[in-house]
């Protein structure tokens, strides 16, 4: 199931296998038959590590979702709670334990905290008098989950909000721990670069932890040449822009969670013969998206406008392959054709799925609303009329557009203008409060604290300088045969990726001035390698950089990095890590203060 993880530059399957091994070790500690009670949120991330078969091999016979009341009856020796360290979940567990004891006193209870145990939670269990009921309380360190052959995510949704809004650095501590664990598997990373307050903090913690374990020398030949830590708040602009790659648009429109997307079923109903499936069609179609699927790997990072051509090219190849059957005359030839059939059918099915998705997306991208929105975005990013109230935004408010969409545009205007004039800011705020409710004061306050929607503090707007120096806007972006990363936003080159690109060549010294305009310090650290572990580089061999986005990364940014990896004269390959895969809507949503968005 995970063969694709080892197909990249760095074999990320090692990480997955390590995680699976930990899981087996823990399961075997609870000897005998087991039932697992799941914090539902965790089933997604765990799905990237293991399937049910692995659990079953270790005598997991039943699985339930965590909820109040008693754990459903199951004739097992152990009941194990797989939970995030959250107080509200502890209260449910307490309730479970109390309801349980009277009925089955013979079952053993265990807790597995993911990704870390929490003394606060244990304290809660102790106060409620149930701490003693647990035989094992353990943690399962699921920091960096391999999502694809070049992509790791902590799936830590609230990381950005915690770090930048609430100043809570827990996620940074986990990041540092995760990186230390990664180094244990892939060798010490000799060079660390970074930009931003959080990046600095993570690097400091890493170096410190490394010193504390100085006794145990890491004898693994380093796989990564360097690590680049980037704060999300160094580049607030990029996530606000609408992603225009295939994968980016799927995420913008339908949302990808833990590698799966749910799609409206109509387009996928090509043949469900005889199942009388009218009502079944209302269920959303769930599809897994990763590089294990050849066609998807080929098209996901393309600008959507180049996807049609790729699909139709593929269609011709597959049609031709099926036509081959007419040429198969001898028994051997027919046999060979038949042996190819499963492969061909898989390819056809993959083509059918992506054709359907492309059709769904195209309906949206060709709509007037999408185009108008994109036009305004592009005007802002090129610096047109960013200093006055925008009629389009005003108009969308009047038409009760979804608030997150409005906020995305307003924040983008503010970022591209380095803050808004007080008069403009006040006007927008009034409009929002009157049309959507005064309670959004809290959200707008958050956005202001983040620097996303703020008053202009100096009269100097340095965005144009940043744009020009880093070449953030490319007039002639080539969507079909890209020659620059700006193709992922049809003109806008993501700032974060430009910084990455410039670090590799010619180095950050060339952009000192701009780096100073962006928030937080930039730095470089070296980690000593034990003798004999220095890589002997072959001529022309590419270097490998791990880029870690603290606070989230978008699919379009990932596409841009993959594009750089594939550049012939690039000399650098990238592996990407992040606290969470985000898009503008999920990101702004995480900063909102509203009862609806406060769900666990």
């Amino acid at each position: 199931m995970a063969a694709h993880l080892s197909s990249g530059r760095v074999n990320l399957n090692i990480l997955r296998e390590a995680a699976r091994k930990e899981l087996r070790v823990f399961l075997d500690k609870c000897a005998g038959s087991k039932a697992i009670v799941w914090d539902e949120y965790l089933t997604g991330p765990f799905g990237l590590i293991a399937q049910y078969s692995l659990l079953k091999e270790h005598e997991v016979e039943k699985m339930f979702t965590l909820k109040s009341g008693r754990v459903p009856p199951a004739d097992v020796k152990n009941v194990i709670f797989f939970v995030r360290p959250r107080l509200e979940l502890m209260d449910i567990i307490v309730d479970n334990v109390f309801s349980e004891d009277k009925l089955h006193s013979s079952r053993d209870f265990h807790i597995l905290f993911v990704p870390r145990r929490s003394l606060l939670c244990e304290q809660r269990l102790k106060e409620q008098g149930v701490l003693g009921s647990f035989v094992n309380i353990e943690e399962y360190i699921l920091d960096l989950i391999p999502c694809d052959s070049d992509l790791l995510s902590m799936e830590y949704e609230s990381a950005f909000r915690e770090c930048y809004l609430e100043n809570d650095q827990t996620s940074l501590y986990h990041t540092a721990k995760g990186l230390i664990n990664l180094q244990a598997l892939y060798g010490t990373i000799p060079q660390i670069y970074g930009k931003g307050e959080c990046a600095r903090h993570v690097a400091n913690m890493m170096l410190r932890m490394k010193r504390e374990f100085a006794g145990s020398q890491n004898q693994i030949l380093p796989v990564f040449d360097s690590l680049l830590l980037l704060d999300r708040n160094v580049d607030l602009l990029t996530p606000l822009a609408t992603q225009l790659t295939y994968e980016g648009l799927i995420d913008e429109i339908y949302g990808i969670t833990n590698g799966y997307v749910k799609l409206p079923p109509e387009k996928f109903a090509e043949k469900k013969q005889g199942e009388g499936s009218k009502d079944l069609l209302t269920e959303r179609k769930k599809l897994q998206l990763n590089s294990a699927e050849e066609l998807y790997a080929e098209i996901r990072d393309k600008n959507f406008n180049a996807v049609g051509a790729a699909l139709s090219k593929k269609a011709k190849i597959i049609s031709a392959a099926f036509e081959e059957r007419h040429n198969a005359k001898t028994v051997v030839e027919i046999k060979q054709f038949v042996s190819q059939l499963p492969h061909m059918q898989a390819a056809r099915s993959s083509l059918a799925n992506h054709t359907s998705i492309a059709e769904l997306i195209k309906e949206i991208t060709t709509s007037e609303a999408f185009f108008d929105n994109l036009t305004v975005e592009q005007e802002f990013m090129t610096g047109i009329d960013t200093d006055k109230v925008n009629t389009y935004i005003e108009d969308r408010i009047a038409q009760k557009e979804k608030l997150t969409k409005i906020l995305r545009l307003m924040c983008m205007q503010s970022v591209c203008n380095n803050g808004l004039k007080q008069k403009v800011l006040d006007y927008y705020k009034r409009e929002i409060f009157q049309a959507y409710g005064y309670e959004h004061m809290l959200t707008l306050n958050n956005l202001e604290k983040m620097g996303l929607f703020k008053p202009q503090t100096s009269s100097r707007n340095n965005y144009p300088t940043i744009r020009k120096t880093l070449k953030l806007w490319m007039e002639d972006a080539n969507e079909q045969n890209p020659n620059d990363i700006s193709y992922v936003y049809s003109g806008y080159a993501p700032l974060s990726i430009r910084l990455t690109q410039l670090l590799a060549r010619p180095g950050w010294r060339s952009i000192e001035e701009v780096l100073k305009m962006l928030p937080g310090p930039h730095f470089e650290e070296r980690q000593q390698l034990p003798g004999g572990l220095h890589k002997k580089r072959h001529q022309g061999e590419n270097r490998t950089t791990l880029v870690f986005f603290l606070g989230g990364v978008t699919y379009a940014e990932i596409a841009a990095l993959r594009f750089l990896s594939q550049m012939e004269d690039g000399g650098m390959e990238y592996v990407i890590a992040t606290t969470k895969l985000i898009n503008g809507t999920s990101w702004i949503g995480s900063l909102m203060d509203h009862p609806a968005s406060k769900a666990p």
Partner: protein, 477 residues
Amino acid sequence: MKSNTDDEEFWTRSRLGAFDFGPEDEVKESRQAVNQISHMVELNNDDDMQKFSWSGDPVGSISWSVRETELSSQSTEKGVADTPSIIKSNSGYSLTSLFKGKAKGGLPEKNFLSFSDVLDDSPARLHTAEIRNPKFEYKDFTSDWSPEESSRRLQQGKAVPLEKFRSLRDKLSLLDSAISTNDGNVITAVLIHLKRTLSREVLFRELASRPTALRHFIQYLNETGEQKVLLQLLGALGRTEEAALLQYKEHLSITDDNKRRDFLKSCLRLPFSAEDSAHVEDHFTLLERQLMIQATDRQAECGGKLPKRASVLNMPLIATLAYCCFNHYSKPEGNFSSPLNIRQTFKITEKQYFMTALAARAEMKAWPDVDALFNSRKWLGLTRKKPPLSFQRVVDILQKNSAPTQVLQDYVAMVEDAELRISLAQKHNCHDIVINMYRDQKDRQQMIRYRGKVGRGSAEERKIDELLNNMQIRWKN
């Protein structure tokens, strides 16, 4: 804030060229090919890619299994019943592995082993918590650990008797060593101990000089819902605006509307920034007003004077204005339900008021009211005034509320830009306008073409014929 010309300009100007589909539609080509292949070969759908259960989860995945076992224990009360057979899930494995030319089930066993070999010696093991039995460990605390040792033990998930740190100095050095681990978990554990054993005054004072610990303490109070302590803390730190907002946030969890109003009223005296303070006051005034409107309307509903409506409570201001435009449009300005009164009280901009009233009255099909919005009373009598938004938007709003053509054409005619006017008139079938414009432009060709678009034998067709046959008109083509 923006003039009308800006508005028109926005809608008519050309757009940036990027992200535009070319003339040929390749997605369509691909669709045709897919459909063709389906015809070519009788395909067995069961072999498609991965199997999915009706819940949408792939067969064999964890989330699928959770649902399966839950269902099976529901159906068989005792729950000993069959767990989903793994043979079933094997058959559901993806064909993608075939695609890659590898065997089912991912990696061969041999590779497993080699990874494990690497892992056993790797320092990763150091970070994994040791197995322990809390039943046992929570009893025996005899050792005398230093602050550093205590922090380290906490970090490793081992029990530590914090009670032995008695003096303030000891407690603070424990806190400082916890801070230097950077581990929020450890810091929080120590803070819980300090909170229990120190006076608030002392604790707050010490936290003020330890920003990291302070952040974790605030986080802890947030998580445990100790609002009161948190407010005290923010007050002691002089972060009054933050405290005010935090307190205001409470209103979100109050469900009773009268209590919520009273709570908002009590918020008015909090030390908000001047700007926020005005918003909170508006929020309170709005809810108070909504409660008044609601009370009278419910009475009227019971008396049969008003049809039953959705509750106006907790609606945003503009939605409240729309509600009043629907139900109380003709009330005198002095009445608290009157739209004009709402507009006055909350200083709603002319544009917002105009759009809301226009949409509401159009939806009610109250065309005289719509018309009246465009009139202003001067001492000489009624005059036509320029609306605060473009006529194109006016037409748009009216059309969305299904205004008939006779109404629409009055407003289409007001659009200044000739090109825009004619395209709108065509879009909304305002034939008269189109015909008159072609006549004025003396554009015979366009007129002939447009003849095909009007109904056969209709009055419009006759009018076109009349014009085309009119020898007095000197057509330009």
